[in-house]
Each structure stands twice: as C-alpha cells, then as structure tokens.
C-alpha cells in the first residue's frame, strides 16, 4: 500500500508538499510517508454519508479503507447514495459501495463488512488509525463512541483513535472531531439532540388531535390488538397500507384531517428527509478533517461545526466542552437528585425522560440489592414488587445505582441523592 503518489495525485501532492500559512513550523510531509502507507481508516455506514465518505477518502489518497454496514440497498436510497443503481436494490450496501469505488479509483483497496458494528471486537477496531461515522442511528453512535473511549490506554498513543462524526437532516447537518478521552465525546453532547417526546398513550387511546396521533394509535395500539403477536414490518407495503387505512378511519371518526400514506410511512418508520447536497457537505467536511488530522497539512477542527442551509447559509463552529461527569469519558458516578417519596416505577419514568441519558428498559441494581430486572423472567418476577415501593424503602440517599439498558452501550452509575 502506498499513499497518494505519482502524476495522478499531482494536485493533492502540490498542496501537501508545500508549507502553508497555518502548518506547524516543523511541517515535513515526507516524514509521514511511512505513517500514511500503513494508514488504515474505518468508515462506519455506507449510506448517504458513507458513499460520499468512501469517494472522498479514495480521492484524498487513502489506499486502505474498511467499511462496515448491515443494511441492504432500497429504492429510496437512490436519490443520494450515488454508488448504487436500480439493479443493486436488495444487495448489501458495504459490498456494492466498496466494489464501485475500487473500480473507479485504481490503487485503492476497500474491505467491506456486511454486519453490525457490535459484531466486531476491540481487536478489529484497534487496527485503524481513524474512524469516520456516517450513521443515522443515535444508538450505534453511542456504541462506537463508548467503545473507542474504552480502548484508550493513556500510556499507548496508538490506542487513541480519532473519531470523526457526521449527521444530516434535510438542509442541515453537523460534523465533529472527537479525540476519545481528550475532547468532548458523543455522550457529552447527547442533550443537544432534540428530545423525542413520546405522545402519552391516553392521548392516542382516547383524545387524538393530530393525524400523527391516529397513525401512532394504529401502529402502537390497534396493530397488536388485531394481530396479537404478529410482528409489524415497516418495510412491508401491505402492513403500511393497513396502518394507513386504520389511521384514516380513526381520523375520520374524530374529524381530523391530513392522514396520508406518505405521512403514515414517515411516522412509523421515523423517516428523516435526506438529500444529496447536504450529505456531500457533511461528508466532505468529515473527510477534510480526517485528511488534516492524518497528514498535518493544516490544523483540524476544534471540534464541532453545524451547517444550516434552509435560510441562506449559516455555520456555527465552536469547541464543545467535555461534560463533567460524562458517563462515558468521565470517571465518577453522576449525582442525580430525586424525591425519596417517589416509587421505583416513577424513578424509571424520570430516567426515561432525561435527554442526556436516553434509556428504554433499564435494569437497576445497587451494591446491596437487585432493585429491578427486565430479564430473566424469574428475576423480573422477584423484583417487580419493588416498582411500587418508595425509593426511601429501597436505598439510602447518596447510594450508587448501576443501570444497564439495551439502548445503553455502557453501565450508567448514578449517585441517587434524596431531596428534602
């Protein structure tokens, strides 16, 4: 493997080989040849951002790239995922994307992994110099973030893998650089996400007011009532059609207007609008930062850029600060104040509402006892009565609660402090 060399790379080499106004005084590109030759990069996601990222890295001279994605190609990807054609629908994204870029950019090797990121172990992630994420899932980002933070051995420089992360929605997007354990991490900024406030079940069940309420009623309440255990498949057009018709009938009953097939699909699949141009901006920003980090040809982003394109062009570039007591990159348990009189069930509801924690089905223990277990059934049965007990009956103020959750890639430690 060799990093960009020869007449093909004249333009990149010219910039790289010359000192710039912002490069370090001792900038010497030739010294990095060895480092770059062995520079393996991991791309997570081969979707809208991933396709762009693979192209950008290949045309930034990187010759050894891995890409990991568990998805297959869908028709609705083709308006932006430019490495795929109609004949590719149904095939694994990682494989088709890798093949296309390798064919176009000679000398570049891309190794596809058609699987979930959680299927790979630490040894796998340790082989890369840098990781770029183009994901649409908060859960996957939290997982890779916490994995990379855990991998850092402060005594071994090579264990620190810079993570460059991008995301888009419509005409907006953001890119950021995370140096695990050194700078603010993904978990530190979790409360910047718009909280997804769930509509109360009673609204869905008895007082719907919006078309979305009718759609959620159909998918959350009516589907299980009619079909029992049969799983709903949001990719199955017949299932969507059924939900649409059920929602439409309910909307009619309550004189609510505006339920459409497209809206039904949007609500049940939580579809986020996505366009080629925004993906191009954010993916290019991520790869620009990766190139600067790995070649030192210019200083890199400190550490967050938000791009807004719906009203003119506006960017906000700032340094997001590490969060004190971050459950991933911080070191100690977080203080959590709560009334001693609420029940464990109320406490769990409170946790679910926290924008900076985001859990769904927690299992809770203290040093002394098992407070609540989701599974196995025996433990669930044993601990369920605790749900109705007051916290003051279960623990002392200041006691540490350990919380695990399927949506949580780490153990959350809370010092539960009782308010007076």
């Amino acid at each position: 493997m060799t990093f960009a060399q020869g007449p093909r790379w004249k333009q990149l080499e010219r910039v790289r080989n010359r000192k710039g106004a912002f490069t370090d005084d001792d900038y010497a590109p030739q010294d990095q040849a060895e480092f770059l030759d062995d520079c393996k990069i991991l791309v997570i996601g081969a979707g809208g951002l991933g396709c762009e990222i693979l192209k950008n890295l290949a045309l930034s001279g990187f010759t050894n790239i891995h890409v990991i994605d568990m998805d297959t190609i869908d028709l609705s990807n083709l308006n932006r995922q430019f490495l795929f054609r109609e004949a590719d629908v149904g095939k694994p994204k990682a494989e088709v994307a890798a093949r296309f870029v390798m064919k176009r950019v000679k000398g570049c090797t891309i190794t596809p992994h058609y699987c979930a990121i959680q299927d790979k172990d630490t040894d796998f992630y340790m082989q890369f110099k840098l990781v770029i994420c183009g994901l649409d899932s908060v859960e996957a980002r939290r997982w890779i973030n916490s994995t990379l933070v855990d991998m850092v051995d402060p005594n071994v420089m090579e264990t620190l893998k810079p993570l460059v992360d991008g995301g888009t929605e419509g005409f907006k997007g953001q890119s950021r650089v995370i140096l695990p354990t050194i700078t603010s991490c993904y978990e530190c900024s979790l409360d910047m996400l718009t909280p997804q406030t769930a509509v109360p079940i009673c609204t869905l069940a008895s007082i719907p007011r919006q078309p979305a309420h009718c759609i959620e009623w159909a998918s959350i309440l009516e589907w299980p009532r009619v079909f029992g255990d049969k799983k709903m498949d949001t990719d199955n057009p017949e299932h969507i059609q059924w939900l649409y018709e059920a929602a439409l009938a309910r909307a009619k009953e309550f004189n609510i207007m505006g339920v459409t097939y497209s809206m039904t699909q949007g609500v049940v699949k939580n579809i986020i609008p996505a366009i080629a141009s925004t993906n191009a901006i954010i993916a290019a920003s991520c790869c620009n930062e990766a190139l600067k980090i790995l070649t030192n040809m210019n200083p890199f982003l400190q550490n967050y850029m938000m791009y807004t394109g719906d009203e003119g062009v506006y960017t906000h570039t700032f340094e997001h600060q590490k969060k004190e007591g971050c459950p991933v990159c911080g070191t100690s348990a977080i203080d959590f104040e709560v009334s001693p009189d609420i029940t464990l069930a109320d406490f769990i509801d409170k946790l679910k509402e926290q924008p900076d924690i985001q859990i769904k089905k927690p299992t809770i223990t203290t040093q002394r006892r098992k407070l609540y277990f989701q599974a196995p059934p025996e433990l669930n049965e044993l601990t369920r009565p605790n749900l109705d007990k007051k916290l003051s009956e279960l623990a002392d103020s200041g006691e540490e609660f350990a919380i695990t959750d399927p949506g949580l890639p780490f153990n959350l430690r809370l010092n539960v402090i009782f308010t007076k």
């Binding site: 093909r8 609510i256 497209s262």
Partner: protein, 556 residues
C-alpha cells in the same frame, strides 16, 4: 412528475425520491425536472455540483469544457476513469455523471467558455438560451463572466486549495414557501368574534369548584390553553385599563395569575393545560408584528404598482397590501396563517378550536383572492389566472415571504466596482477582528486577487514549481493592494490577508477533492433552492474556509 393521489400507494418514482419530496414536495420536484443546467468547466467542483443535482432529478444538463483528460484529473475528479485519459473531458464527465440517474438527460459541448461567449452569444441570451441555470467554475476570465446576462440565474464557483467561494447572480427571486420553523400565529391580542364566543362558552365555569356545580377535574384539565390565555387576558385587561401585559414583569405577573387558578389537588399536583398556557405567555402575548422581509415586499414599487407583465407574486402581494389597508378586511393585520399547535384538549374541542383558526385563515385568503382578481381585471389580465390555492399558500406564509434583489456581477467586478460594493467590502474590512469577528473578508480579498491575477496574466498563481515563491507572493500582494485601492481602502496588508495569499499560492490552482466536494454540496443546495423557489437562497456570496471549517456570507 407522475404523481398519485396523496392517499394511494406511492409510484416507483415517488419511492425513489421519497426522502426529498418530504422537503420540497411535488411542486418543487416538477420545477427541478423542468430545469436545464449548464456547467462551464468540468473540474472536480463542477462535477460534484452536477452530481448533487442529477441525483435529485433535474431535467437536463450540458457540460461545456475544451480540455482533454489528464492523469492528474483522475486524482481529484470521481467522474473520470482510467479509460478517459486523453479523451474529451466534457464527453467523459457527461457520460459518467449521466449514469447516476436514468431520468436525467445529459449532453456536452467540447468548447471553452471564452470561445462560446464570443462566438455564440445566443447561448447566453434570455429568451434564446436553452439553459435555465448557468454554473461557471474557476478558472474563468472576469471579462467573460461580465458578458453574462443578469437575467439568467448564474453561479460562479471557486475551489482553490482549502478555500472555496460561490457568487449567485439572478433576476429578483420572490419566494413564498420559505419553510420557516413554525407558521403558528395565535393572534391572542386580536381575537375575533367566533373565537371570543368560544372562549366565553368554554371558560364560563372555570373558577367554580366541582362541588358548586363547576367543571370536573377532567374537564378543567382539558380546556385548551389558547382559550385559557384568552380568558385570562380578558380578566387582566379588565383590571388594567384595557391593556394587555406588555413588560417582562407584567407578563410574569400574568403567569402568576394563571398559576393561581390552576387546580393543584389533582394527580401530579398540576394541570398540563395550565402549564402549557404559562409556557406560552412570553412567546405568544405580543402584538402581531410584520417581519422586515414582508415589509420590504409590501413597500416594493412592484407591489404598490403591479404591471400587466409582472409575476403573480406581486399581484398577490398587492392584494395583501390592500387587505391590510382595508378596515373591512385585515384592518392593519396580515392575513392569518392558520397554523395551530397541538395542545392538551379533548378531541372535539381541539378540532372545533382549530377550525375557528382555519376558517379565519380561509376567510382572509378569500378576501385577498377577491382583491387579486380585481387587480387582474384592472390590468387587463385573466382574472382566473391566480387560484385560491396560490393565494392561500401566500397568505399562509404572509409574514415569511422573501424578495431577493441580486446585484449584478458587473457591479462587483467592473473596475472600479460600484459604490455599494466599495462600502460593503470596506465596512467588512473595518469590522474584521481576528479575535471576536474573524469573518472571511480577507479570504475574499485573496480570492479576488487570484481572480484579477488569472484574468490579467492567464496563469494560476503558484502553479509553476520552479517559480520563486517570494516573487509570486509579491505580485499577488500588489494585485490585492490594487484591488483594495480601487475600492478606496488604503491600508497595510493585514496579517490574515498575507496568510490567505500564501494559502492560495500554495494551492497553485489545485483542487482538493474534499473542498471541491464540500462547495459542490453548498452550490447544489443553493441551486435547488433557486430552482424550486423554496427555502431562502444566499444573497449573494458565501465563502468556506476549510482550515477553520467556517463560512461567511456577504452581499457584494
């Protein structure tokens, strides 16, 4: 595009474009499909722009370029392959870009921008040109772009090393569907008869306890907060000489007034609808204000005196103006948007209340429609030209419409430039501060020097490896100082300007793929906004600094 009824299953085209139709809808998509984009210069940035337009389905594109593909193109342009070397760059990029979307027709012309501007002026003439939008990518000669018509939307693009710039020029853009964050307008200080009647009906027993024949907790907890606010406003005004709470302190006192009549002895200790009312006070208790953008539209001569040839936008704007001026119509207020938020309420009450807002919005739109028809008749045009749907879209967005007057390229690039330009650049230079206002104005001056240098000398500064760095630096400094004196700005070369000149010479005209791709995304977003007449395009220059990852927007 073939569109099915909103209720039915989507067509395969709707499936393919689903993620973007959720942004700009069938109307935006139809406009995209009617466009024909010309790209002058098949550079990496140029091809990246086209990629982002072909994917969402523009109608046609034509690539104009006279170069043969060199090996060094392959390291930066994704839409060239090994087989392309030695062949026409226009032909090869058109072929590889064309593969992206079978719905789009692609073409190419093997010729240069300079030559076509000189020999085929009809290609650039409004009314004659086949092109709806023109992209020109650097390097280009200033003299050539000065020949472009200000009527055709034109996008000038520079992508040099770590820096990139876009300049838009077009005839006035009038945008109705700007996609603001919210269209909600509650008009709490200007309730109308139907709304006040509902307040009276639904809140008459509000203060009476259940045991005394008042509302049950359930009823009390489901009075929509809009009705609560209107009711308490009546009470407040009665106690304050007819004035609503206006200062921050008064609004807080008003919040307390609401809080004090909330029932606390209910499960949870408070009522959600009352909490919603309290939370809505600061944002919603205020006089209906007209935005500066809408004012600019309503005061525009084209709105005051629409002509027989003018766009329907100005006729409707005129009709809105009349609506506001008439006491029997808006009486000083804009037409109501009809936007209404969700709130804790029983379904039937909510729908009834929402309908009061919707009916009022429909009534306002109908007035405006009648006014518009009268104007059309007066101008000797077909009174049915403007539909109620078109009027309703306008009245829904009445406080968010935009009129963008683009300045011509000539006003900026003539030597010397006009006074507006001189003032814009001078004031940006004067307010620049490396610490607290690090705008990219010096990046502009450096790029401008690059443009002047290339147009004069015909070489890309820094492209010759054998040329002495210090010599070229000196020449670029002189070019920059010449430009600065042409705008009447006398000063030493700022440190930032010197750094930017060095960076631009460092690039030697090279494109970095990542920067080309990034500006390609920015330009494509702007072109989509201009084509669809939705969202708000930049007026008129945006610069990206790839070193600090920042942008600046200027009107030059």
């Amino acid at each position: 595009m073939a569109s099915t009824a909103p209720s039915g299953m989507p067509s395969s085209k709707e499936k393919k474009y689903d993620r973007q139709l959720r942004l700009w809808g069938a109307d935006g998509q139809n406009k995209l499909e009617a466009s024909h984009i010309a790209l002058f210069g098949a550079s990496a940035a140029g091809c990246e722009i086209l990629k982002n337009l072909i994917l969402p389905g523009i109608g046609r594109f034509t690539i104009i370029d006279d170069k043969k593909v060199e090996e060094s193109d392959l390291g930066v342009n994704f839409f060239l392959d090994d087989d392309s070397v030695g062949k026409s760059r226009a032909e090869r990029t058109a072929a590889l870009l064309g593969e992206l979307n079978p719905d789009v027709e692609g073409d190419y012309i093997e010729d240069s921008f300079s030559n076509l501007v000189a020999t085929k002026p009809e290609l650039f003439q409004p009314g004659w040109t086949p092109f709806t939008h023109i992209i020109v990518v650097s390097p280009f000669n200033t003299d050539d772009v000065l020949k472009l018509s200000p009527e055709i939307p034109t996008f000038l693009v520079h992508s040099i090393g770590s820096t990139a710039m876009l300049r838009i020029s077009a005839s006035t853009r009038c945008v109705v569907d700007t996609h603001p964050d919210t269209l909600i307008d509650l008009r709490l200080l200007n309730p109308w008869e139907e709304l006040s009647a509902m307040v009276a009906e639904k809140t008459k027993d509000l203060g009476i306890a259940e045991k005394d024949g008042g509302m049950s907790d359930h009823e009390h907890g489901h009075v929509p907060y809009v009705l609560l606010l209107l009711k308490f406003l009546e009470d407040w005004k009665a106690a304050h000489g007819g004035n609503p709470p206006s200062t921050y302190a008064e609004k807080n006192a008003f919040k307390d007034m609401i809080r004090n009549s909330m029932r606390m002895d209910v499960p949870g200790g408070s009522e959600e609808n009352y909490e919603e009312a309290i939370a809505a006070v600061l944002k919603n208790i205020r006089a209906a204000e007209i935005s500066s953008h809408t004012k600019a539209v309503l005061e525009d001569p084209r709105c005051i005196n629409p002509t027989p040839e003018c766009e329907t936008f100005w006729i409707i704007a005129h009709a809105v103006r009349e609506f506001m001026n008439r006491d029997d119509q808006g009486a000083g207020l804009l037409p109501l948007s009809g936007g209404f938020p969700d709130m804790k309420a029983e379904s039937s009450t909510y729908v009834a209340l929402q309908n009061i807002y919707r009916s009022r919005a429909r009534r306002d739109a109908t007035f405006v429609h009648e006014n518009a028809k009268a104007v059309l008749r007066k101008l000797g045009r077909d009174p049915e030209l403007i539909t109620l749907d078109e009027v309703s879209l306008f009245t829904k967005h009445a406080n968010f419409v935009r009129r963008i007057n683009y300045r011509t390229i000539a006003a900026e690039y003539n030597f010397p430039p006009d006074d507006f330009h001189k003032k814009a650049v001078t004031s940006a230079l004067q307010s620049y501060n490396a610490e607290w206002n690090p705008s990219l104005i010096y990046d502009y001056v450096a790029l401008r020097a690059w443009q002047e240098y290339y147009s004069k000398i015909g070489q890309l500064p820094g492209e010759d490896d054998n040329y002495l760095d210090s010599d070229i630096r000196e020449q670029m400094r002189i070019t920059a100082v010449d430009y600065l004196s042409s705008i009447g700005y006398q000063s030493n070369i700022d440190h930032r300007l010197d750094q930017m000149l060095q960076e631009i010479i460092r690039a030697g005209g090279s494109e970095l793929h990542v920067i080309a791709s990034l500006i390609g995304g920015i330009v494509a977003q702007e072109i989509v906004k201009v084509i669809t007449s939705q969202y708000v395009p930049v007026n008129n220059t945006v610069i990206f600094d790839g070193i600090k990852s920042r942008t600046s927007v200027f009107e030059f």
